[in-house]
């Protein structure tokens, strides 16, 4: 039975106006459209793909096509030209660094940036760019800003992220305890100290501060940096113990926040000093994240390199139509 109580027309008017106003405030995003165009393959998947899908009404054809496909794959694998061919139906591996697409990515080299960052190597108009090699099966999420495989959640997800940190919360479980601001150009050692001494300030509360390993200083891509790992304390029930039910580690200058997705999430953090800026890389994993995915994360961290950004062609040169 429906509750037939009529809705006040004023409510309906308010809802309609609110929907319209908030939609109108959403700016056009040509970068998104360009990214979508890039992500759509030039050719559609073969119609045979549909026939081979479960539920097809043409199982005999599917069987024949399957056999043919096996033969073709066999021929391809034995062909001396196979190294020059792309994987059938898969995205082309990238060889020169590409802008990050959204969604599923082909393996290859990508330029990572953060569009609203004002300075440093993650700024899209900086004279240097950050490149990372990405393996099979990673997906670009959050508007091309975080990579994940298969997803960034428990129990077995993995992420690869890059941040411009503006603020570190003193106690991630209690944001109202305050924070430490990190102005642009903060020294490497300052951030190492802040992260390695992360801790709650209220002795009357159960321990909620993250467990942080000692920073390991080293050289990455020829530049000074350090690494450490952050995990929430054992036994912490984030949903019931923490303010706003979240465990918020840091915030970037454009109001993006990073909070832990599960009490067993570990964040491997690598900070690299690039001239006077700090490049903040994070590999997030959970206890059930497969070892091979962790190895891929490590390989991605190790592949990060900072290079002079190639000159961008002028608009007149690139608009051929």
């Amino acid at each position: 039975m429906h509750d037939e109580t009529p809705i006040d027309p004023r409510t309906i008017r308010a809802v309609r106006r609110w929907l319209q106003e908030t939609a109108d405030e959403l700016p056009d995003d040509p970068i998104l459209l360009a990214s979508i165009r890039r992500s759509v393959p030039d050719r559609r998947p073969s119609p045979w793909t549909r026939i081979l899908q479960p539920g097809s009404r043409r199982p005999l054809i599917a069987g024949a096509i399957g056999a043919l496909a096996i033969i073709l794959v066999g021929l391809a694998l034995t062909s001396p030209l196979r190294d020059q061919r792309s994987v059938v139906g898969g995205p082309e591996p990238t060889t020169t660094p590409l802008p990050l697409p959204r969604g599923t990515m082909a393996p290859g080299a990508y330029v990572i940036d953060t569009p609203l960052v004002a300075r440093g190597p993650l700024a899209p108009d900086d004279d240097q760019e950050v490149i990372v090699d990405v393996g099979e099966g990673w997906r670009s999420q959050q508007g091309g800003w975080i990579l994940e495989k298969p997803a960034g959640y428990p129990p077995d997800g993995a992420t690869f992220e890059w941040w411009d940190i503006g603020r570190v919360y003193v106690d991630p479980c209690h944001m109202s305890d305050g924070w430490v601001d990190l102005p642009s150009g903060s020294p490497l050692e300052s951030l190492a100290t802040i992260l390695s001494t992360w801790g709650a300030t209220d002795a009357d509360r159960p321990a909620t501060a993250p467990v942080v390993t000692d920073p390991e200083f080293g050289t990455f891509d020829g530049r000074p940096g350090f690494e450490l790992t952050v995990t929430p304390p054992d036994g912490l029930t984030i949903g019931s113990s923490c303010e706003t039910n979240r465990y918020v580690l840091w915030r970037d200058p454009v109001d993006g926040e990073r909070w832990i997705q599960g009490a067993d999430q570990a964040m491997r953090i690598r900070v690299i000093e690039v001239d006077t800026d700090l490049l903040f890389l994070v590999a997030g994993s959970f206890t059930e994240t497969p070892a091979e995915v962790r190895a891929e994360q490590q390989a991605m961290l190790d592949s990060v390199r900072i290079r002079p950004r190639p000159a961008t062609p002028s608009p007149s040169a690139s608009s051929g139509s």
Partner: protein, 189 residues
């Protein structure tokens, strides 16, 4: 949306330039719908991308190009629901673009009402939000909303009524918590 049917036909036949035209013509419109449902710009962007991939793949099976708009809404709704299922807890405050500013002076809906509506709307299930957006933002008749969502008109009506009642209750709430998201003490950078 009023999509150019000739462009749809050309894209259906595999003409990539026509499909790019469809992206340009419909992308922002679909994004606004997705944002209306998901209330998260990044999730909305991912839903729109997922939608266009599905459109590109499935377009040859669209027998009536005249039905492109409703068909694309159906794909968009599916993508939005998939994104909502995928990302129930993932950094909803993360934003890469300028945050929409409340229309303090020019807005028709009062700022307080906007806050109440936003909170009330976010508490609804994604299915309830979808009904509201399709009917009250897109102005689709409830029968078409039901068709887009693949549900019965009765279910659609019931969801609409439930959602509006919840939003009315949100608007009527007198006491708003002071710090909804733990950011009440934040200082400017």
């Amino acid at each position: 949306m009023g999509t150019d049917i000739s462009v749809v036909r050309r894209a259906r036949s595999g003409e990539r330039e026509a499909f790019d035209q469809l992206i340009d013509d419909c992308g922002m419109h679909l994004r606004r719908i997705a944002y209306g449902i998901l209330r998260d710009r990044s999730l909305a962007d991912d839903a729109v991308q997922r939608t266009f991939l599905a459109i590109w793949q499935d377009l040859p099976g669209l027998r009536e190009p005249e039905r492109f708009d409703a068909w694309s809404y159906r794909l968009l709704v599916r993508a939005c629901h998939a994104e909502a299922r995928r990302s129930p807890r993932w950094m909803p405050s993360l934003s890469l673009g300028p945050q929409p500013e409340p229309a303090v002076d020019a807005g028709i809906v009062a700022v307080a009402d906007r806050d109440q509506l936003e909170r009330g709307f976010r508490r609804l299930s994604v299915e309830h939000r979808t009904v509201i957006v399709l009917h009250h933002f897109l102005d689709l008749p409830l029968v078409e909303v039901a068709a887009v969502m693949g549900t019965s008109p009765g279910t659609t009506y019931s969801r609409m009524h439930h959602a509006l009642r919840a939003l009315r209750a949100a608007l009527e709430a007198d006491d708003r918590p002071a710090a909804q998201n733990g950011m009440a003490q934040e200082a400017p950078h």
